[in-house]
Symmetry: C2
DNA sequence: ATTGACCATACCTTTTTTATATGGCAATTA
DNA sequence: TAATTGCCATATAAAAAAGGTATGGTCAAT
């Protein structure tokens, strides 16, 4: 059949994967009828698709003999390449499926210093379940991390919340952690005692997180002191938690931090004591964007966090 | 539509090339309707193929918004890979087309020493016209080369034929070359003369190709000498032409070779003279298998050889 | 409130693919 | 020599897939 413009009326405008599959099966079976048995497809369709492929490629791919077919040079050239191609097609499909299911992908989380322990615990569990997901972790101040979250550079943050305080985002409380005074021998305001009476802080220099960021652990303590009739001297305003630890350790004064932060430094000369009259708590929370369409691996991570929290609650 | 076993009745069993093309177009256009304008296909079919692809890959590839679509993580994963895939599919098709047309592939030829010049001339022309074909050339004795040809390790041979002698294969005479005596000053049987009378060979030692191979150039000369009433002394039977050249040059005796072989060594002390009464000729021939199905590049080469021969004939 | 741009669905038509039936060819077998 | 067998190609009708048109829903901008 020839069109009025002289061109053959084959409307097969590009090579089809099905044709490549048939072709490869024929090449491997050594005959069309053999391939038809393998593919569970009748012989004529394969014959036809092969002919279409040959038309499309303007080359004879097989020598037809009376006991099968044999690859020509062009056929061998196609066979080598089509095997790779079919292979990478399957690989591609699998990897997309994995990404869709959250088995593969990228998970980017931000962590504040106080949450390093709980975050790494949770991420460890996550990694055991989804080892193919690439983890990106960064540490920073709550403000910086929230900026990155808003710009979509991070998927979730480990922060601290004051009970029900909210960031206008989705969040989940992961646990609780008493806030305690941090000190070392020599700066202990109540040596030998289990807890420190708040009045003992009256003339003690303090090292606190600056409270002009989102909030520092010290702000509520200072307010509590004012209610108790005095305003302690803040010897040092720290921009971050590890620095506060260092200053306390260096003897600048008494700090005020979640107990777990100090507990994470076994062997350190620094230790904590509660304030006798003031049982404040800090809540590690996981914060994420209120995106109705999260990447699969982020979903899986948030689900894991939910299970984790449920378990913690039952334990308590 | 759900089958009785609970599975969805989608019969789309593998990713389709067309689906990838549509997908890539949508990703690039940023909207389905945009892609439909680019592809000259209505919007609903693209929408449908996209849905099929998403079903097949068990992943949402695009976020549908009211002003277009946006790639999800799985979509980005697919896009990166599908671009490469589409690209290499086209490359593959082109390369197969090239092989089919004889523009690309492998051409393996065997050459006997006497034919080096004519062979390299012809191969040079071929290479200029088909620079992408990889050439494989080997030199050897006619017997070895014919073995390789029969085993399919070589596509064509440059040999010498005695006028109408045949190898049971296809062959084409490429030219003609007078057979002459080879000598140097000191072994010249007729110094100062243009041609050597055959009787002058009576007591001259000769260096000839051994004649137990397919045939040596010397065999017919020896017969001619016997007809002339004498049998010359063969000082040295040479297994190959270059060795004969060396022996002649070393002064072992007089050789008998195609003139062009000696002419290819300008500056050599060796030169040729015809036998006065005996004007034998050697014919460079191209020999190939009588294969009804030659690789494209071999066909092109044989066609070139035909044109070359025609031109030579016209010239003569 | 209306319009416009977009995507999804329903439905019908066209194209493509498949399966069945059949014929030709070459090699093996009776 | 004739028959059989296994192979591929072609013709044709049925099934499947893809395309086109019409239409409805949603959201944002007018």
């Amino acid at each position: 059949m020839v069109n009025f413009d002289g061109s053959m009326s084959e409307r097969n405008d590009t090579v089809n994967f099905k044709q490549l599959e048939y072709f490869a099966a024929v090449a491997e079976a050594g005959s069309i009828s053999g391939a038809s048995r393998v593919l569970h497809v009748a012989q004529p369709p394969i014959s036809r698709q092969l002919a279409l492929l040959e038309d499309e490629l303007e080359a004879t791919l097989f020598l037809r003999t009376n006991k099968g077919v044999e690859l020509t040079e062009a056929g061998r050239c196609l066979y080598q390449q089509s095997r790779q191609m079919l292979q990478s097609l399957r690989t591609m499909a699998d990897s997309v499926r994995d990404v869709g299911a959250g088995m593969r992908g990228q998970l980017k989380v931000g962590i504040i210093y106080s949450d390093v322990q709980i975050a790494t615990n949770l991420l460890k569990k996550y990694h055991e379940e989804f080892p193919q997901v690439e983890l990106y972790v960064r540490m920073g101040s709550p403000g910086d991390l929230l900026d990155d979250l808003n710009q979509g550079e991070l998927h979730a943050l480990f922060l601290r919340g004051q009970s029900e305080r909210s960031y206008g985002l989705r969040e989940r409380v992961l646990g609780e952690d008493p806030l305690e005074l941090v000190m070392r021998a020599g700066t202990d305001p109540a040596p030998g005692q289990e807890a420190v009476p708040i009045q003992a802080l009256r003339d003690v220099p303090m090292c606190l997180l600056r409270s002009d960021d989102l909030w520092g652990y010290g702000r509520d303590l200072l307010e509590e002191c004012r209610r108790a009739g005095f305003s302690p001297h803040v010897a040092c305003h720290c921009y971050d938690t590890p620095m506060e630890m260092q200053m306390v350790q260096a003897g600048f004064g008494v700090g005020f931090l979640p107990r777990s932060v100090v507990a994470a430094h076994p062997g350190s000369p620094v230790y904590t004591k509660p304030v006798l009259e003031y049982a404040a708590k800090s809540y590690p929370i996981l914060v994420w964007e209120n995106d109705p369409y999260q990447a699969g691996c982020v979903k899986r991570f948030l689900e894991l966090a939910e299970r984790y929290q449920k378990k913690q609650r039952h334990r308590a």
